[in-house]
Structure formats: C-alpha cells, structure tokens
Symmetry: C2
Subunit: 516 residues, 2 copies
C-alpha cells in the first residue's frame, strides 16, 4: 500500500464517499489509487471550479464532506471562487491539492507556487502532509475539522512522494467535536426578552433552517409574538407545504431596514447580524435598525436545535408551528418570461422533494414566492456572492441525492463562469434541469451602477455589462457537452419544457429568453 | 474627478492602453471611469482566467502591461492560474482587484476574503491602495514594478471608497528601473571558458530569444564552437527563415540529459538551469548532466543583449549568425491528423509574421519542427504548466497585434478550462485561428502515469483521464459563442481550413480530430 491508497482507505473509514476533481501529473498516484476503493465514487470535472462547487452542493445535501482533487496552486486557484461560497455556506469539504515531491520543491519547478497562501483565501483549515507516517492522521484530522460545527472548508496538500511512499495499512478515525451547548443563562435571558412583549424577531441561518429547528422556532414565534426571519442567502432552506413559513431578508439593506424597522430585539440563531452585501457612497453598512438590540441565542458553531428546544420549553411554547397555507399561483398561460411568470411556471411544476439551486439573481427574485406553497423541497442559495456556483452546486446536489430532481436557476452571465459543469452532468447522467435565464446582460450590475449613484452607464461601461454581440447560444452550448437542450421564449412553453425535463432521466438545459 | 478616473489618467500617462476584465459591484466606479479614457481599450471577458491569460498574451507581444479588472478575492482566484503562467513568463501585468470599501471590511460581508494572501500565489508585487491621496503614486509604482526586468505580475487592490473619493488630477509617472548591467568580470570569465575549447552551450530564455539577441548568441556559438539552446517552454521565441536556429530543450529530463550529455559548461542567458517539470520516483530532479558546470552570463533581470554583445566583442565573434536553411516539409496530401501531418499542415500554411500560441501538449510536439523553415513568426509557450492558457493568451496576442494572424494550438482538455475566451474573440473580431486538437483524452496524463511506473490505469483511473462519454463537440461550442467553426478529420482538410481561416477576418475554430 502506498500513501495515496492509505489516503483512500482513511477516507473510506471516515465516511467520505465522493471524490470530484481534475488531476495532473503530481496526482497520478491518487488517481491510480481510486481503483482500490470501489465504494468511493470518482467524478471528473473539466475545470476545478466545477469540482469545488460540486463538493459544496454535495456537502450541503449530504452533511458530510466530499473530497476534491486539485492540481497544485493553479488548480486550487481555479477552485477558489466556489470554495469561497462553500466557506460562507459552512459546507464540510476536504480539498486534496497535489504538490511537487518534497525533495523537488527546492528546484522551484515551473508549476511551483505558494499553495498554502492561496488556500488561506478560502480554506479555514490547511495542512501539508510532510510524511507518509502522519498521512492517515492528517486525513482524519481534515475530515474532523470539516465536520466541526458549523462546517468547514479544509485543505490537505499532498506532495507526490508522500503519495508514492510505502505506507502501513493503519487508518485513523476522525474525532469530531460536537456542536457547542448554549448556556442556560443565555436561554433564560432570551426567554426574558421574548416575554417582555417588546417587538422581537428570530433570525435563522445554517442548520436552524432545517425542518426540525424551523418547527421549534415557529412555535416560539407564535407563543411569543415574535417574527421568524431567514438570512438573505441561506446555504439550504427546507421549505414548502407543511413546513413553517419564514420571512427571508431581501438583498438591499434599505429594504431590510424597512422590513424590520419595528424590531427592537433581533435574536440570532446560527446567523449573523445583517450587513449590506456591498458598501455604497450613501448606503448603510449595517442593516440593523437604530435602537434594535442584537442578541445571540446560538452562535454559528452552537447546537441551534437544542437551544431552540430549550427556549421553547422556557416559554411554554408547546403549540403548533405556523403552517399557514401558501397559495400556489395559477400556471402561466402564455406571454413573456418575466419574474412573476417564471415564479408561476416553477410553482406550477415543482416536483416534490426537488432541490432548487438558486443563482438567478435579478430575474429570479419572485421564484421563491411562486414556489412557497409547493410540496416540500430544498432551496440552496449563493452564500458568498461569487457567481458561477449554480451549475456546479446543482451537480453536487444531484450526486448526493440521485433520487431527487435538481433545478438550477442560473443567469446567463453566471452560468458562463463554470459552464463546463454541463459535461460532468451529462457524463454522470444526473437528474438536473438547468434553467438558463438569458437576459443577455449582467443585469445586476446595471442595477448596482444606479445604486452607486453613477446614473446611466456611458457607451464603454455599457458594453462591459452587456452580453450581446454576440448573443450566447445556450442550446448549442448544451449540445456541445452532451446535454439535451432547448430554448423557450414564453412562460407556457417553459412550463411544458420543465415538465418534460422532470419526466426525463439525466440532465436537460432550458434556455429561457427573458423579455426585459 | 474621482479615484477611479485618476487611476485611468495615471494608466494613460504611463502607457497602459488595454483593460481586460470581468467586473462586479465593487468595481462600478472603475467601469464608469472607462468612458473618460477613449484611448484605453476596454475588453470584457466572461471568466477571469480569460482576462488574465489575455493580459499575459498582450504583455508578451507588447512588452508593456495591460491592466486586468477582477472582482474581489474570488475573481482574483479565478484569474490565478493564468497569472501563474504569466509570472513564469515574466510578463508585465497590472491587476486591479476591486475590494470592499475600507470602512466596510470590518463587517466581514459575504464577499470578503484575504485578497493579498491569494495574490501571493502568483503576484510578485502587491499593494492595497488605502487612500485616494496615494492612488496615482501606487498605480505608477505598479506599472514601474511590472516593467522592472525581467517583467513582473503586479496587483493593486482597490477599495470601492478609494475609487469613489474625490481626487486631484495630478498623475504620477512610473520610474522604471533599467535591466542590470552584467559586470566585465563575468563577461571575461565566460569568454575564457568559451575559449578553452571545452564543450559548451549557451542556454537562452526571456528577452534573449528575440532576434537581436539570438543573432549575437548565434555568432558567439559559431565563433566558439558552442551550441545555442533554448528553454523548453519559452514565453516568446522569434523564429523562422532568416533567423538563427536554436535547439529547444525537450520536456522529459532524461531526454535533456541525453541531448546535452557532452556539455561541460552550460552558460545561462536570462535562463535557469534545466530541471524536471515534475518529480518521479526514479527520475532526476535536475536536468544538468553530472560533471557539467553551470555559469550565468545574464541573470533573469540582467540586460542579456548587451551582455551577449560584449561577450561577442571579447571573443571577436564578428561573423554571421548561423542561418542554415530549414526545409519545410511537403504539405500533407491526406490521411489522419497525427503529430507529423499536423506539423506539415502548419508548415505548409503558416502566414508570415504569424503568432503561434502553443498549448498543444502531446499532439503538437512536431509542430515546431514542421514550421522552423517558415517565414518569420513568434512562438509562445505554456511557461508555467497551468493548462488553460492557449485561447486566452491568443486573445491577448491578437489584441496587441491586430495586423498579425494568431494561431492557437490547443488540446481539447486544455481548451476547456478557459473556453469562454471564444466569446471575447468573437466580440472583439480578433484574427485568431483556434485549432482544437481533439484526442478526447488527457493524453499527457496517460503518458505521465506510465512515467510514474504505475503501469496501465485501472478502469476508474482510466475514466478520470478520458474525455469521451460524452465526446465534446467543439463545432457546437464555437457556434454557441459566435465563432465560425468546423471539424476536420484529415490532414489535407486541415490545410484547406487553415488557409480559409487565414483569409477570413475574425476568429475561426477548427476541431481537428486526432487518430491515436
């Protein structure tokens, strides 16, 4: 057994079941070792950002890490944007970055660079495996770190000679630290606030957005007359008919401030206090209203469900959660694809247990509303603001949940960063409906330019935000990578193609031309 | 005038004429400011690796920096792989990385990350512009650093509030340090070695591979009976009929060792001593033969041309350079596209003054031989080993040299990392012939696996190196981004399509199916 094979055995012993990556010469032992572990699925990506985004999607749905395989510093660089999103999503991931042999580094060969410095841009735990003697322990430590609440992006740098050295077969087990228990004093204090009668709201994120925690939070809200809010861009929100409704915070800080203007006590549950995504010359940085006090029931690494249950007990919140029936809008009967007809088309068709990966940015802002009353489903958002997550995260979610339909809602501009994901979807025959919302523009940036007070862009600026000339042809694009593809221009045709895709095994691409 | 506009004025005052990038909200002032400098061409890339690769290609041909525009840490991450190649090519580049406003950073908003740490992976000079007061000086310093011999990748981090703050109009000028003069003692010592009659070779790289330096080196070689070698992967080699012939080192270190086994003195001219690209269990790390002494005539930051001229004087090398006529192989008359017929097809058609961007890896290894006798042209290689440079570097070379035909030779696997370059080529109507050498495999890695002593890959490993299932359809791919595209399967058809592309304005894609 060599180091690479011991790495596989250690992954296996610690529950890692998926490797997704893009290899190079320094990873040949790793690639060869994949044949020794048929229990681990190996998936090839044509670009590293697809691999890391897929690991993010997988981790969000499986609640355990996939391993990525990346080729030295540049491969890690290519994967960094989606690792950034994964870090913000608290997704457990173990990156394996191949490196030159330890004895070869001093020659500064052409592919040598400072891998650990690059990793610090997105990885919260990084270790170079300097010897095969520590390898299994290092791998187990990475898995453990990735699973430490609330979840971490971790990176192992694997020098080629460590991978090819002879190893003993002894595999180490990960010792995972449990989520922290919130102190009784904190629970009592929050209970006191909620009993005071002053306007209060719970702001949920992370694991507090799964159904069990949502139900408790909703009971607390009913009992205490408090609102139940959800972060703007949750990593994974369990929603739909029969699940408690939460109010999701909007993107624009002035809108958040207006929405929660009356709240005097904002109680964080695995969430952070809302801030503006970007700064603007005349905009606020924080989105907490003046005079509103922020309290923390559960910090991001705390056991939020247990804390909510104890809070519910303290309040005597033993009733039912708020399960108001949300109306599904009638299916569109024709007309242009616009935010409301897109929401209606999704609402009319969304399959039970679907996973929606939402990178729809401007066009999709009514999609959550249109689908709120649909059968239970998961909604996965762009947590870190680095666009190019949609198709890869959908790929990973489908790898984690082969029996569920995944719908990727993606802007045309966003889709182009990591368009290579389509090939992996086709190869792995994943049940994904990719909806490309083609407004042929970085529409969000036209909005942002106005918010900056810069007025209408000049001709040069305009063409830097414009995706025409030439227009992207996503039907040819999908075809080029083996994904059956079609184009629709009306909302009823979109409904038909969505239904057709759900009834078809494997991936589909629907280019939805937006009239704006 | 705001900070962003002052940045543009400073770029203009220091000869920067191209901005290529992919913006986000934090760069809106930068984008708006582009309209104030019509002298600077602004080019949009759909993915940041296209922007940085284009800046590399531009800088290699223009010998001055383009500016890139990248969106925070993730945008820089996406651009890092091609910046790595640019660093190894010593290409002058000024990256501008937008950052959150200085006062907003403390809120750790979703897109915040450690930009400078990421930059250290590829940028040799990095500065965050903390105030509009220092902005123009910081920009001038970045331009100066980028041009400091032998050329550097530099990075300016531009917080949004610095960009929107009021600025005075005073622009600072870059003070560029000249290349260092080699001491007379060094020249004399090298002259003595070359006069000794012991077998010697000059190994050239960097600016020593431009025609003036090549001619002097060749004269020295003839006079002293020394060989004239060229690095394995030069950033830019001026070659073709009427230019001195150099022996290019092969990729595999054992082959280098065999090629220069007789050399007792290896004299570096803007070059480094040859090393193995990767380490192997039984392979050498260094590719310098035992008993061969390595000397440096000109280090990478030295003025190599002047040093060569002084060396020629010391040796009395006043004759003609070695201009042996290299035979152009006859054009292929049919048959499969293989390494030799590919070389012949290129040799039969290469236009004068062409720029060849070579990321052909395994299939293209005879392309240099096939074209050695063609009319003068430039040959640009993959300097840093991070694949995905071909189409972007071709894009940048065409932006620098609109009157020259650019030919990108790219493997199918390589092309897929940064395939979005095609769209920019179409939008900017660049005269590029993209030849996609489709062997439907990471063929280099099958070779490397054998070199590792791992034998034939198992079924899982095999599919991780394989690009079939589904096969990529590059004709649809090109069409999807507005590039006229065709597929050829025979060498004579390749000749026809190459000729047709050279006679047509704008970009073309030729998918050359390789029979292996």
């Amino acid at each position: 057994m060599n180091g690479a094979e011991l790495m596989m055995q250690t992954f296996l012993a610690n529950g890692v079941e998926l490797v997704v990556g893009n290899p190079g010469t320094s990873e040949m032992q790793f690639i060869a070792a994949l044949d020794s572990v048929p229990q681990i699925r190996a998936v090839l990506a044509l670009f590293e950002g697809v691999a890391t985004g897929a690991a993010d999607g997988y981790g969000r749905m499986a609640d355990k890490p996939a391993a990525t395989l990346l080729h030295l510093g540049p491969g890690l660089g290519n994967g960094l944007a989606n690792l950034h999103n994964a870090r913000r999503a608290h997704t457990p991931i173990v990156n394996v970055v191949g490196e030159h042999a330890t004895f070869h580094r001093k020659y500064d060969p052409p592919l040598y660079s400072d891998i650990e410095s690059i990793a610090r841009g997105a990885s919260e735990w990084t270790r170079t495996i300097e010897s095969v003697a520590t390898l299994s322990g290092d791998v187990a430590a990475a898995v453990a770190a990735s699973l430490e609440a609330p979840g971490k992006v971790t990176t192992l740098v694997l020098p080629a000679d460590v991978a090819w050295s002879d190893a003993t077969g002894e595999t180490k087990k990960a010792t995972v630290t449990k989520a922290s228990r919130v102190s009784q004093a904190v629970v009592d204090e929050i209970a006191k606030i909620l009993k005071s009668g002053e306007p209060a709201a719970l702001l949920l994120n992370g694991r507090a957005l799964r159904e069990p925690a949502l139900r408790v939070a909703s009971r607390i809200g009913r009992r205490a007359g408090a609102r139940v809010l959800c972060d703007t861009f949750p990593a994974r929100l369990e929603r739909g008919a029969g699940r408690p409704v939460v109010e999701r915070l909007p993107y624009i800080p002035q809108m958040i401030l207006s929405l929660i203007a009356d709240v005097k006590h904002l109680i964080l549950v695995s969430a952070r206090a809302p801030v503006s995504f970007f700064a603007f010359p005349h905009g606020p940085s924080t989105a907490v209203p003046e005079g509103c006090q922020v309290h923390t029931l559960a910090a991001e690494g705390d056991d939020a469900l247990a804390a909510l249950e104890r809070l519910a007990d303290a309040l005597g919140a033993s009733g039912e959660p708020n399960l108001e029936l949300v109306r599904i809008p009638p299916p569109p009967t024709g007309g242009a694809i616009e935010p409301d007809s897109l929401g209606a088309a999704l609402g009319a068709t969304l399959p039970e247990n679907a996973i929606v990966v939402d990178e729809s940015n401007t066009v999709g802002y009514l999609a959550p509303m249109g689908t709120a009353g649909c059968a239970p489903h998961d909604w996965l958002c762009l947590t870190g603001g680095s666009i190019g997550m949609g198709l890869p995260v959908a790929t990973g979610a489908a790898l984690a949940c082969p029996d569920r339909r995944v719908i990727a809602l993606d802007g045309d501009g966003s889709a182009m960063y990591t368009i290579q994901a389509l090939w992996t979807q086709a190869r792995e025959k994943l049940n994904i409906t990719n909806v490309i919302l083609a407004n042929r523009s970085y529409a969000i940036l036209n909005l942002e330019m106005m918010r900056m007070g810069l007025g209408q862009p000049g001709p040069v600026a305009k063409q830097m935000l414009d995706l025409t000339n030439p227009a992207l042809d996503f039907v040819s694009m999908g075809k080029s990578m083996g994904v059956p593809s079609c184009r629709v221009t009306t909302a009823d045709a979109l409904v038909d193609e969505l239904r057709r895709s759900y009834a078809t095994e494997g991936p589909t691409l629907i280019e939805a031309l937006i009239q704006l």
